[in-house]
Structure formats: C-alpha cells, structure tokens
Amino acid sequence: MVSELSATEVARALRERRLSVKEVLDGTFERIDKVDPDYSAFLNVCRDAAYEGAPAAQKLIDDGTSGPLTGVPVAIKDNMCTTFAPTTCGSKILEGFVPPYDATVVENIRRTGAIIVGKTNMDEFAMGTSTENSAYFPARNPWNPDLSPGGSSGGSAVAVAAEMTPISLGSDTGGSIRQPAALCGIVGFKPTYGRVSRYGLTAFASSLDQIGPFARNVEDAALLAAAVSGHDPMDSTSLKGSEIKTDRLKEASLKGLKIGLPKEFFDDSIQPEVRETLDEAIETLTAEGVKFKSISLPSIRVGVTTYYIIAPAEASSNLARFDGVRYGPRIEQGSDHIDMVSATRGRLFGHEVKLRIMVGTYALSAGYYDAYYHRAQQVRGLMASEFETAFEEFDLVLGPTSPCVAFPLGDEALDQIALKLMDYCTIPANMGGFPSISLPCGFANELPVGMLLTGPVNGDERVLQAAYAIERALPGAVRRPPMP
C-alpha cells in the first residue's frame, strides 16, 4: 500500500515507474478517507489542488529532473498560508480566510514537486500541548484514539503516524513539533531559528517560532527540512547560507560522540516508566561508543516561566492584527470601532488564546514590564549561555522530549498549569534558537517515548547525523500503531 511507504520509498517507486504521481495521490486520499474521520488530523483536505499539481510533478520525473521529494504527498499545519486552501490557524476568527499569498515553505515544497494534500489540525494559533484547543475538534492519537496526540502541531503528527502522509510540516514555538512527535512515536525536528523562512507562517511568538518536519524516519525528516530551508529575503530573521545539507547524513558514527545529560531533565517531573525507557536507550548507546556525562544547566528549571512570559507577550502584540477589519468574520456591536473590535476578538478567540493575550498584555503593561518581560529576557540569555557553554564540551545535549507518554483527551487532572509544565524539556531550544529533534527511543506502558537531542546554533546537520545513527542503534523503538 502507498500509505505504508516512507517519503524516500515513494520517491524511489516514482523514479522507477512502479507508481505514478496520480496513483500515489489516489492511495493517499483513500487512506485519509478511511482513517481521518476517526483521528481528525485534517482541517482541510486539498484534493483538487493536489491533483492539479500532479502532472507537473510527473513531468519532472519523466524528464529525469526530479528531486528527492518530487511527487511525495505532504501535509502542512493550518497556520501556513496557502492561496489554494483556507488557513484558519485552528481558530474561528479566521474561519473561511483564504490568504492572498503562499508561505515561502509552501513555494519551496511546490518547487521540489512534492504535493500538499491538506492542512492539519492544531491548537488555536499554536497555543497548546494537546490539540484540544482547536476551535474545530481535537485530533486523536493513532496509538489510542482516546488519547491526545500532543500539540500544538497534533494534526501534522497524526497525519504521519497514522500513515496518511509520509511527511508533514509543523511549527514549534516551545515544543509544538517535538512533543507531538514523541507522543505519536515519530520523528519531529525543529531547525535552528532562521534556517527555515517564517514568511507566511502566522506569527505566534516571532522570536521563538520555527517551522520543521515530521516523518517516520530521520532521513525523510532531513529531506523535508532541507527542501524548505534556505535564505528568504521576505523574512528579515532568515539566515544567509541557511540551506540544510543532507549529503553527509549517513556518515556519522556513534563512537566518540559526546553527549551531555542535564540532571534538570531527569528530575521528579519525569514519569518513572519514561525514565526507564530512556535509561535503557542510553545504555544501548553507551555500548555503541557514545560518551555520556551528567551535567547541570540550572536555568532549565525556570524555562517554563520564562517562556510563558515571553511567548504571551509577543503573542499579545502579534494577535492584535485580528480585529475584524481585514480578514475573518466581524461581530457588529455597539456604535464605535473599539466595541466592534472587542466583540469580534472576545467572541471568536478561544479561551486559551484570550488567556495568553491577557498574560502578555499584563506582562508588558506599565509597572510590570521590568519585573516580568525584561527579567524574562535576561533569564533567556542566561539559559542560552548555559547551553552554549555545554556545547563547547559536548556535541549534543539529551533528555526526554516529554516527561510523560500520551495522556487522555479531556483529562481533568491536567489543568492548564500542568499542561504548560510539560514543555520544560523542549523550551530551551526555542529560547536559544538551537536545532532540536525528537526521535522514538522505546515504549512505556505500550506507548511511544521520545528522546530529545539538541545541538548548537547551525548544528542542524550534526543533530540530524546523530539522530540518524541513533535510529540505526535502536531498531526496536519504531513500531506501527495498532490502528486499522
């Protein structure tokens, strides 16, 4: 079946004429039609646009000028602008919005001949860790539909884990690619800040947001990261010479690789079963020649606080643009402009989005700016420098991606604070702009556990190489979910 193939395998089958692009799309939509009603990965399936793109991709293959992802189906998170499909960010305030331009990542995907087949479900404006904050419906975990797939890029993780597409794109502001990848048992990669253009990605927290891939193996993730990376003059934070290279992906050896294990990642917050699984993986890698050493990066402990000041502060400013004037629905109320704007925002934003706008507005308001926002930025600098010092001695830093395995949807024991505290392992990479990958490392209670590898700025190739080698050393860590 087409759906079981990896991106690399689909591309090979296309090049060898064992499949046509149309057949790949037929198989993809057949799979989506079969399983998505139960897993809700997609907010919008772009059937017509996908088939329209098929002849051009087929021609590249027939002409022998295809790339590594030509003809491969891709799902993208619904916060990336597409002219051919609505872009809602999982919010009612953008219901029906069809952007007038394509995000740079969308243009890059189309240039390679890969085919976008749908827009995926997400926590509203990427604010959440469970995809339950989607204004439409929650996505469901392929390992058990009663469990959350994680978030905020839950739909993109489910599309790949449930074999609806071999690869997808998500966005990661505090862990929103890596945490759902871990909870769904797949690979999720957040590149160095600036190596993938944010032009056309709806801004949540501009200094932290980064687009990256999901895949069922490291090679596919690296290929998609490479395809969407590179300098973009439309994004002034885009780095020059930022193409992610994959030519040496398979060359790294585990022997002599130096990895730091921050003790703050392994404290009491971590579920004992997750810890055991990770310890076993570390033992296996030690036998393969990896040199592990316990270290301390103390500011990890205040990462969540720092994040939940900086990200809402930036969000409160970024989300000011949703005012019922230029796009989205409008609630007509009262007689003046402020009444209309306030009613539109008050009724069409969901609860979590409003909470974060309130937190951010408060943290930036007169009298609180120094105590919260300015101080959080100082702590951010401290955290980044602690990691940078570690990277002078170690190639990478390792921990769990999530302190727990997938949790039930609607779990009342998990209040908003408990859900926020789950991000403590993934947040530092966003604070420092570091490349960071989650890859499967085993199972706890029959559910997937993710391992998080973080490297220095522009160490994307090093992170991917190490992940590729670790994937080979842990063959039992990847299984197919028990689903139809």
Binding site: F97, V98, P99, P100, Y101, T192, Y193, G194, S207, L208, T237, L239, S299, V302, T305, I309, S316, A320, G324, V325, R326, G328, P329, R330, E332, Q333, G334, S335, D336, H337, I338, M340, S342, A343, R345, G346, R347, K354, L355, I357, M358, V359, T361, Y362, S365, A371, Y372, R375, Q377, Q378, V379, G381, L382, A384, Q416, I417, M431, G432, G433, V457
Partner: protein
C-alpha cells in the same frame, strides 16, 4: 500581590477583549495562578545580565532599494468583512 478584578478589566480593555462577568472572574483566577507560578524567576540574580530579545540576533538586515511587485488592492480586500470603493469599511471612529 494578586490581581484585582478591576485590573483584569483594565487589561481586557487594553487587549481589546470583550469579556462577560463570569469570564472576567475565571481569568482573574487563572492569571493569579499563573503569576503565582511565575515567581520563580524573581529569585534569580539578573544583575548585569543583558536581555536576549531574539533567538539568533542579527543587525542591519537591508533589502535592495528596488521596485518589486506587491499585493494588489483587490486581493488585499478580498477577505475583508466589509469594503467599499477599494477601502476597508470600519465603524465610525471620528464623530462629525
């Protein structure tokens, strides 16, 4: 010091969010819980530490001073809930 209901109302006004009384009280509770949790950075000595506003800092990012294509007016207006004669329509801002 906990946030009062009046402060919550003030912040909601600044943020242009219409909230009913029940929501205001819910947000008061949630904001206080979050800010209570956020006290842990107050204990860190940040004296002399520079603020880091960006992940990877860059300065002087210039674009070529050259004409290019930009969004056309009809495309920009296409998603507007109300427009007329090439303009976005908003409720009255300045009284006659």
């Amino acid at each position: 010091m906990p946030i009062s209901l009046d402060e919550v109302k003030h912040v909601a006004r600044l943020a242009r969010l219409e909230l009913d009384e029940t929501e205001l009280m819910t947000f008061q509770g949630e904001l206080n819980a979050l800010l209570g949790h956020f006290q842990d950075i107050q204990g860190i000595d940040v004296t002399g530490l520079p603020a880091k506003p960006h992940a990877v800092a860059m300065t002087n990012v210039w674009a070529e001073d050259a004409a290019g294509t930009s969004l056309q007016r009809d495309e920009a207006l296409r998603n507007a809930p109300a427009s007329k004669a090439g303009l976005f329509i908003v409720p009255t801002i300045i009284e006659e």
